[in-house]
């Protein structure tokens, strides 16, 4: 009796065909690829910097004769990719905060030496240029800046030294990030160890021990450790903590966007954290040449202008490394007033794994 009537069947068929066609079309959009017709393939930039897309766009627009492809990601995944790529690397240039990764790469012989552009560095810039010129600082931020919520605690109530952070009045009010997940944190720890142990040269054991004692005291005083800036700042918003030792640009960024009561105090010392760029020495010559052009451009006035404006509430909040340049935002004080010291990535880089492991098991978590 009820043989499906013809119209209904036809409608059904039409809808099926339409659905399949739409699915196929939507799926195929993912395969739209742009072919590069030129003979110079360019290189891939691995970067975690907030201004990297703008920089790459500006550089490519200047028609250098090749194309820079940007692989933007957080520092962690970038370094994992580089390490997993092993002796068949895809990366041509690496641009991240912190020099210890570069020291490690240099020790493995993977960086192109003498690739520092011929520009006039200011003193803090010079202090971060390595002897073999295998990587170049492009800007300075400060890690271990004491970021505080001025609605919870006034400037007068803040500690004036690092040691005072362990005082009873600050119990449970201090936060920081986890060095194994937050890039700027290990350099801060390393810098403090360097400072507390009065490290000059030779064995780092005493310095490490001094630093461990410092953090253990903090831990006993209720130090709150979160993985990265986001949760740490959220904890300040939630009034779980009233201050945290994090990266300066993160503080200024929060103040400029959602957290107007955020302020920064610089204890003595704070630690310099340069943004660093380096070239893969294992790439073919033509790629290394292209990469050098890019690095030169980054430290040129054009490149610096992009760096300082493209991520105005984030990474652009840095101190320049070139003579005669000023920071982009009025909030940023003179670098000298931050008591920032630099640390040797070749000394402290190799210790990162062990120190981070100690931190995770004794300070952040574990038994």
């Amino acid at each position: 009796m009820t043989i499906p009537s013809k119209p209904k069947n036809a409608v059904r068929k039409r809808i099926t065909v339409l659905a399949i066609a739409a699915t196929a079309a939507a799926g195929s959009l993912t395969f739209v690829a742009s072919a590069s017709a030129s003979s110079n393939p360019g290189f891939v930039l691995y970067s975690s910097q907030g201004y990297d897309q703008a920089s790459v766009n500006a550089f490519n627009a200047s028609a250098p004769g090749f194309k820079v492809t940007l692989n933007d990601n957080s520092t962690g995944p970038l370094l994992q990719q580089i390490q997993a790529e092993g002796s068949n690397p895809t990366w041509g240039v690496l641009w991240v905060d912190g020099a210890s990764a570069f020291a490690q790469l240099d020790n493995e012989g993977k960086l192109l030496k003498h690739s520092v552009p011929k520009v006039k560095f200011n003193p803090q810039g010079l202090a971060n240029v390595p002897k073999d010129g295998s990587f170049t600082p492009t800007g300075i931020t400060v890690t271990g800046a004491l970021c505080y919520d001025s609605s919870q605690i006034t400037a007068a109530q803040l500690p004036s030294t690092w040691a005072q952070l362990s005082d009873a009045q600050y119990k449970g009010l201090v936060g920081m990030n986890d060095p194994s997940q937050s890039g700027p944190t290990y350099p801060m720890i390393a810098g403090l160890m360097d400072y507390l142990g009065k490290y000059k040269s030779g064995s780092t054991t005493a310095a490490v021990t001094a630093g461990e004692a410092f953090y253990e005291a903090l831990h006993a005083n209720g130090l709150v450790v979160n993985s990265t800036n986001g949760p740490t700042i959220a904890a300040m918003e939630a009034h779980t903590i009233s201050m945290a030792t994090i990266q300066s640009s993160a503080c200024y960024g929060a103040e400029l966007t959602n957290f107007p009561s955020m302020r920064v105090k610089y204890l003595n010392p704070s630690i310099e954290l340069p943004s660093v760029i380096g070239i893969d020495g294992k790439q073919p010559a033509i790629v290394r040449k292209d990469a050098q052009k890019f690095v030169d451009w980054v430290l040129s006035p054009a490149g610096q202008a992009v760096m300082q404006t493209a991520d105005a509430e984030g990474d652009s909040l840095f101190w320049p490394v070139l003579k005669g340049e000023n920071p982009s935002n009025h909030l940023i004080p003179k670098l000298a007033s931050t008591h920032a010291i630099s640390t040797n990535p070749y000394t402290w880089g190799p210790l990162e794994t062990n120190i981070n492991t100690w931190f995770d098991s004794s300070i952040a978590g574990g038994v």
Binding site: D72, G76, T228, E237, A238, T240, N258, G314, G365
Partner: protein, 592 residues
């Protein structure tokens, strides 16, 4: 290959024998699985004892990393994961069985809603759950915004208690669907027989429990494997509770530079091996038994009618469990995205705002809108879900054929072990394998491309979806296909007209499941996405981790609703396109 050989045990020797063709299909399948899963995972695992293979160390063979993985801190993580997974799997299966029995065999209220709730629970990633819980419970969080003080519970939640709650919620839907399928194939005569011989409702249920033992054990095994390999909870709750878990230890090992892939490989191997005991237990009990049998003869079982009082109590119980598992996280996330400066005690009280939502597509951070990433994620979801669906059907048929046979056991172990492989291991393994010079020059050069990411996502989804489909697919009686063949249908037509309709709902929901899982997948997406093609989950993560938790939460909620919209559209299309007869078959193949 061994498996093909076993299947062709009774072959004639004719070279053009179609059964030979069948075993050729088996070989092809394992080649595909090798390229997809086995080779990349092995590339990673081998580093546990042989770091030099991929230039991760100087030794061709060493046990030093094995020792390191079991040393104090990392060993604690492994131990914690094992006992948490054991507790969670037992809890999840118990709850799931109770819920399944209530929902399918009694007249508890709101039955349609519970099925949908379970699907939502299945699709929600654990990191979203934790986010919701913390947004709700934190001081000046969502609960406070609603006038409920939860400070006392907040501290407790960030500990083993919260971990068990969230992980049980995550494992619950897996267990529920498997147990449901088992229950629906259980005819009413068994319970009736027990009742007639004097057993009360509880005891009669206990009597039939051994009959659905295969389903229960399968649910236990998969809950265990999913919990062991969970990353979201270990990374968030576990971390804050100072409760190390194996997946987090694995992640820590590779978070430093240089990454310790070797220790991570050993931990990954432990995760995989830990799934073997549940499988052995399951196969011992099942032996040659299969799941229940579906045919035209299967009738829907009778429902037990509760009287008013017990009915209200049962309904309330179901509501409570589902609220804890699903409602709380959703509530927390939604409120978190609506409350300005979540957690700030302001003079004028709590503000509800849509600011964060306006930032989702026009964010303060340049170039980080959700628009393009969300579109890309949807496209990925489409392709990955379809590819996974096809492969999962092929594998599911293989899994249920010849129960108890050698090839079936191997496939079963392989699939469950793959479920236990954390996404990050698969992702890094893909880099190792597909960046090998030999592979890029002579096999396929797809490193750092979208197809590679798609393959990895398919590899991630196939094992889970295959096991998910195996139950319902196994309920289809072979004689239905035989009848079609005998009455004039060729192989394809027989499959298309008799098997496919019975699987249509399962295929649909499997597709939707993988679609949503792909959109919310983070670990693989983060390590493999090609330049300038960032998926939504990675964008959301950078907001949550670095820039702006409020906007990040809003993005999360938007993505969730977008996924629901796609589900709605897919269901509508299904309803419009499929003949009525197809829809008579419930998701597990029984008319429900």
């Amino acid at each position: 290959m061994a498996i093909a050989a076993v299947e062709s045990a009774s072959l004639t020797t004719s070279p053009k024998d179609p059964r030979r063709r069948g075993s050729l299909g088996g070989v092809l399948l394992w080649v595909v699985l090798t390229l997809l899963i086995i080779a990349p995972v092995l590339s990673f695992l081998i580093l546990g004892v042989s770091p030099r293979v991929f230039q991760q160390g100087s030794q061709w063979f060493t046990l030093k990393y094995v020792r390191e993985s079991f040393s104090s801190y990392s060993g604690q993580g492994i131990f914690n994961s094992l006992w948490v997974a054991s507790i969670v799997s037992v809890l999840a299966v118990t709850l799931a069985t109770t819920l399944a029995w209530l929902i399918h065999r009694t007249n508890v209220g709101g039955r349609r809603v519970w099925a949908v709730a379970m699907w939502l629970l299945l699709m929600m990633p654990t990191w979203m759950m934790t986010l919701g819980w913390s947004d709700l419970l934190q001081p000046f969080g969502g609960a406070q915004a609603l006038g409920v003080n939860t400070h006392w519970f907040y501290g407790e939640f960030f500990g083993p208690l919260g971990i068990v709650i969230v992980l049980t919620s995550a494992a619950l839907p897996f267990a529920y669907f498997i147990v449901s399928a088992g229950l629906q194939g259980l005819g009413p005569e068994f319970e009736d027989a027990a009742r007639i011989h004097g057993a009360g409702p509880l005891r009669s249920f206990q009597t039939v429990l051994p009959i659905i033992a295969p389903a229960l054990l399968s649910a236990l095994a998969i809950s265990f494997a999913e919990t062991m390999s969970d990353f979201g909870v270990a990374f968030t709750l576990g971390y804050h509770a100072h409760f190390p878990m194996a997946t987090f230890m694995l992640f820590s090992a590779i978070s430093n530079f240089p990454a310790n892939f070797s220790v991570a490989a050993v931990i990954a191997l432990v995760l995989i091996i830990s799934t073997v005991p549940p499988i052995l237990l399951q196969s011992r009990v099942m032996r040659k038994r299969s799941y229940a049998v579906l045919s035209g003869r299967t009738r829907a079982p009778r429902r037990r009618e509760f009287r008013r009082g017990p009915r209200v109590a049962a309904t309330a119980g179901v509501v409570f469990v589902l609220f804890i598992a699903l409602g709380v996280p959703i509530l927390g996330a939604v409120i978190g995205s609506l409350v300005k400066n979540l957690g700030i005690e302001s003079a004028t009280g709590v503000h509800f705002t849509l600011t964060y939502y306006s930032q989702v597509f026009h964010p303060s951070v340049t170039g980080k809108s959700l628009g393009a990433p969300l579109l890309l994620s949807n496209q990925l979801g489409l392709v990955v879900a379809t590819g996974t669906g096809v492969l999962a059907v092929v594998l599911a048929r293989r899994l249920i054929a010849n129960p108890g046979s050698w090839s079936q056991r191997v496939t079963d172990v392989f699939l469950l072990g793959s479920v236990a492989v954390p996404g990050v291991v698969l992702g890094v393994g893909y880099i190792f394998f597909y960046n090998i010079g030999f592979v890029t020059h002579h096999v396929v050069d797809i490193y750092k491309t979208l197809p590679l990411l798609m393959l990895a996502l398919v590899a991630n989804a196939v094992p889970g979806q295959t096991r998910f489909m195996a139950g319902p697919v196994s309920q289809i009686q072979p004689s239905l296909g035989e009848a079609a063949r005998v009455h004039g249908a060729g192989r394809m037509r027989a499959w298309r007209t008799t098997n496919l309709p019975l699987m249509s709902r399962v295929l649909l929901w499997g597709w939707l499941l993988t679609f949503t899982k792909t959109i919310s997948e983070l670990a693989i997406s983060q390590i493999l996405y090609p330049p300038s093609q960032e998926p939504a989950s990675v964008s959301i993560q950078s907001y949550l981790a670095n820039y702006d938790p409020g906007t990040g939460t809003a993005m999360t909620v938007m993505t969730l609703f977008e996924m629901l919209a796609v589900i709605g559209i897919a269901l509508a299309i299904y309803r419009l396109v499929t003949p009525e007869g197809w829809r008579r078959i419930g998701w597990s193949g029984v008319q429900s």
